[in-house]
Symmetry: C2
DNA sequence: TCCTTTCGCAACCAGTCAGTTGCACTCAGC
DNA sequence: GCTGAGTGCAACTGACTGGTTGCGAAAGGA
């Protein structure tokens, strides 16, 4: 259960988004594999994966010598519901405003 | 029509989120008013408002000598639908995976 | 055992950005 | 015209962080 704002911040970086979307669309991969497909070094990828992992957007598992990372979409739902909450606050405000004219 | 990733990045900063949520929950305010309620200077607020405005999360209007800012929630919907798209990509991948076993 | 691959850790660099300070401008009220 | 409130612009600073390089450790294969 990661807080939505941390997930928001994690998705704010373009490279981190690229890593996540790559894992999400083409399936699990290791940091080295990702480094071949993206224009940054393995170390940069590893840092981003660690960041993504800390907010629950990525799962790590060992396969022999390799460490394979997999995307997890559950935190996205929490962000979505947070956005919905903010939106409904706005609706409430409209409602109160309407009420004040009756 | 602001792109969802810019909105994402705009909402990533805690202070900027605080400004937006303040405007969203308590209604329009000027930069000076916001500076009284938040622990940063008016200039910092003004920069954040400019940033929020550039992604469509805030509307500005003049009231006499004052400049009043108001929250706009439409871009939040775009972010939500983007999140949904990412989620559905994941569903597609599951579907393909399922198909490969038949 | 030796070599290679993969990974993790630490140090370092450079760019970005949040925040402050200072100053100039505008406009309403006296 | 003067004063004060509200705003905008520019320069500066400090901290954070994305990215790289270098090195050492662990693990599989010949």
């Amino acid at each position: 259960m990661s807080d939505p704002q941390a997930v928001l911040a994690a998705l704010a970086d373009p490279t981190r988004r690229a890593v996540f979307e790559r894992l999400n669309s083409k399936g699990p991969a290791s940091a080295s594999e990702l480094a071949l497909e993206l224009p940054v070094t393995r170390q940069a990828i590893a840092k981003h994966l660690s960041h993504l992992g800390s907010v629950g957007l990525v799962d790590r598992s060992h396969q022999g010598r390799q460490v394979v990372f997999e995307a997890r979409v559950a935190p996205l739902g929490e962000v979505a519901s947070w956005l919905e909450t903010v939106g409904s606050e706005w609706d409430d405000r409209l409602e109160r405003l309407r009420g004040s004219f009756e």
